[in-house]
Symmetry: C2
Subunit: 231 residues, 2 copies
Amino acid sequence: MTRKAIVLLSGGLDSTTTLAIAKSKGFQVFTLSFEYGQRHRVELDRAREISRRSGAAEHRVLTVDLGALGGSALTAGIPVPTGRSAEEMSAEIPVTYVPARNTIFLSFALAYAEVSGARDLFIGVNAVDYSGYPDCRPEYIAAFEKLANLATKAGVEGGDPIRIHTPLIDLTKAEIIQLGLSLGVDYGLTHSCYAPDEQGLACGVCDSCQLRLKGFREAGATDPVAYQPAG
Amino acid sequence: MTRKAIVLLSGGLDSTTTLAIAKSKGFQVFTLSFEYGQRHRVELDRAREISRRSGAAEHRVLTVDLGALGGSALTAGIPVPTGRSAEEMSAEIPVTYVPARNTIFLSFALAYAEVSGARDLFIGVNAVDYSGYPDCRPEYIAAFEKLANLATKAGVEGGDPIRIHTPLIDLTKAEIIQLGLSLGVDYGLTHSCYAPDEQGLACGVCDSCQLRLKGFREAGATDPVAYQPAG
């Protein structure tokens, strides 16, 4: 029987690569995206399209009220930083950090796993480029996996344990891109920018765009997405 | 300086008692309720009123899409069981179990703690009367506390650790009621019923009503809420 997996899919480069990895391992995938008060919706549109093209069994979008709690440049009115070096970015917890976001997202993925009969959860966290995010570290993921097996019917009734897969956690952005390209990922569908324009075009200068462009350079590849004309 | 605490408040007997305990310990309380596709809204109205009367610093209601994931009689179309004994209730995981619910709720409480500067979270879980719920066990709570300290800025930057308080976890329903009465809780404001009528009157026969009524009997007290006339 084909094993089912929940894949957290933002529509970005990392989660799209993670989806391709889950598919390549033979999982029947159920993709889960969140509407969480992001300042732009292009990500969600991309996630839906990426899921559809991947042949996912199901794609769900859950609305969560992260914006109501505030506390991050991604959901509140704090300016998104631009033009910083990778070293500057990793020196501190970025303002784009959303409090407890991965914990919230993984909790919903766990609920989805329980109702769909999946025991495997895939999340594209990365401890290299996003070292400033506490909830991207391997010890955090291990703690969530332990929690998941205590939290659910599966944990009480025995059977297959819940596993949290983080196939990108130790990879550089360039390595992620190389892996994705080898699996046939169309990065032209993915969206990474924190501050796209009205047409959804990436800015090219926010932390996320810079990490992405540096990744493509180091991978010896060309980023297929269109960027805003330099202003 | 007064310490801040997040209190998960459903408007039921247990969470209302938990709120009184947090207040009695001197915390400045921030109450958090969820609109999660419950079949009845009376709980949320009661939670707001209970929070207001407690003098909470703030009350927030977050909408979460648990209903979209299905899987429980509390959010889906599964009939709520009635007329069961306490032994029958605790023999298995009840159909009213919502997958990963406490994990989701605690995750949002953690986010709220992070943005409000609280380090203490109170949740009225109980391992005695709700032994069938995997996410009401002490080992589950311990795992969440560990996760919380790995998930957040507080965990990375040091300082006070996050603590999850479960003051009811080892108490019987009768003991909870006795404790609450000693702290001046007005149980007439609380709502426990899974299947209230249009006026919000409790049914008196669902698992939750039965546990509540048994608790009042054993506490030697009278439940001040009104019940539907026996049908």
